[in-house]
């Protein structure tokens, strides 16, 4: 099985989610399993499928700051995707390429990130269900879904982190303890830059190595037959209030 790897590229939030969906459809139709690296331009907030938009996101603040907000089709939590502060990946393939057990498949895919970080000299470990931690602090969050026989997992690796900005855009359930909560999140989150001085290019190289280890692959790009449907999916789903305010 030959994998396709799509090198890092930036898109808007709606298009990023739509591309993951369009590639899942092309994989379901027999297309190559695909690993894609991407960034968010402009910076954006994504929320999990089951989260309440209103409860999780300060929509006024996001609008004021030009930060897009999108609901993912995967579960999990709210994420602030800073344009220069993180790198996102998606891995999409037929379910039989991965362990049937969900936790085992998280462990396998998150293992690629652990390997990549090790290449950069950062020791990390998978923390079930869906996190990767360095010395107990979170450096990567991941979310998976399976449908139509296709597994999609996407996740984010923090390159540099600005917790204050993150919490100016995300809501805290109890405003009275906001300061305390931000302080405690600062204690519990880390980034590549806080661990090592490395360039983004080197991180991307390490991720390419980690994700393709033991795989036959070629560097490729999105096909027209994926990009065009993705543009339509962005319009018909991810840009729409009906989708984003669904819960």
């Amino acid at each position: 099985m030959k994998w396709r790897v799509i090198p890092f590229a930036e898109y808007g939030a709606f298009m990023n989610m739509a591309i993951d969906e369009a590639v899942s459809e092309s994989v379901a139709a027999g297309g190559p399993p695909t690993i894609r690296f991407y960034g968010w331009n402009p910076s954006a907030v994504s929320i999990g499928y089951f989260q309440s938009l209103e409860k999780e996101v300060d929509l006024h603040r996001c609008r004021f700051e030009g930060v897009d907000v999108v609901r993912r089709r995967t579960g999990g939590g709210a994420v602030y995707h800073d344009r220069s502060g993180e790198i996102t990946y998606s891995i999409i393939g037929k379910e039989e390429l991965f362990p049937k057990d969900i936790l085992a498949s998280y462990r396998l895919i998150c293992g690629h990130i652990v390997d990549s970080l090790a290449f950069l000299g950062i020791q990390s470990e998978f923390k079930p269900i869906n996190d990767i931690i360095v010395n107990g602090k979170k450096i990567s969050g991941n979310a998976q879904t399976r449908r139509g026989g296709v597994l999609l997992q996407h996740g984010t690796i923090l390159f540099s982190v600005d917790v204050d900005r993150m919490f100016s855009l995300l809501k805290v359930s109890d405003e009275k303890i906001k300061d305390k909560m931000i302080a405690s999140v600062k204690e519990r989150v880390t980034s590549i830059s806080l661990q090592r001085t490395v360039s983004r290019e080197l991180v991307l190289e390490a991720l390419l190595g980690g994700f393709t280890k033991g795989k036959v692959f070629r560097l490729g790009e999105l096909e027209r037959t994926e990009f065009d449907p993705a543009s339509k999916i962005a319009e018909s789903r991810y840009k729409r209030d009906e989708w984003n305010s669904m819960r």
């Binding site: 999990g48 089951f50 409860k55 579960g75 939590g77 269900i129 879904t145 399976r146």
Partner: protein
Amino acid sequence: MKCEEKIPGGKLVCIDVQISGGKASAVKITGDFFLHPEEAIEKIERSLLGLSIDASESEISSKIKRSLEHQGAQLIGASPEDLARIFKKAVS
């Protein structure tokens, strides 16, 4: 009426229940858990409609289990028993 709980070793679940005439008339389950396929949540919520506020946790969890089984759905980061406990707390 609402109850939110972070499940130890699992995820955050919030269940919002509206009650009319001693029965659940609207149910919304939100949080950062996982469920494959995601759309299964709507039928799970619907399966709890009409439940009496006196329903036992085992009655509630068996409704959730049945809905998951019917849909071939898998819940990750919370169990049907967790959801039943949170539902029960929400209506109590």
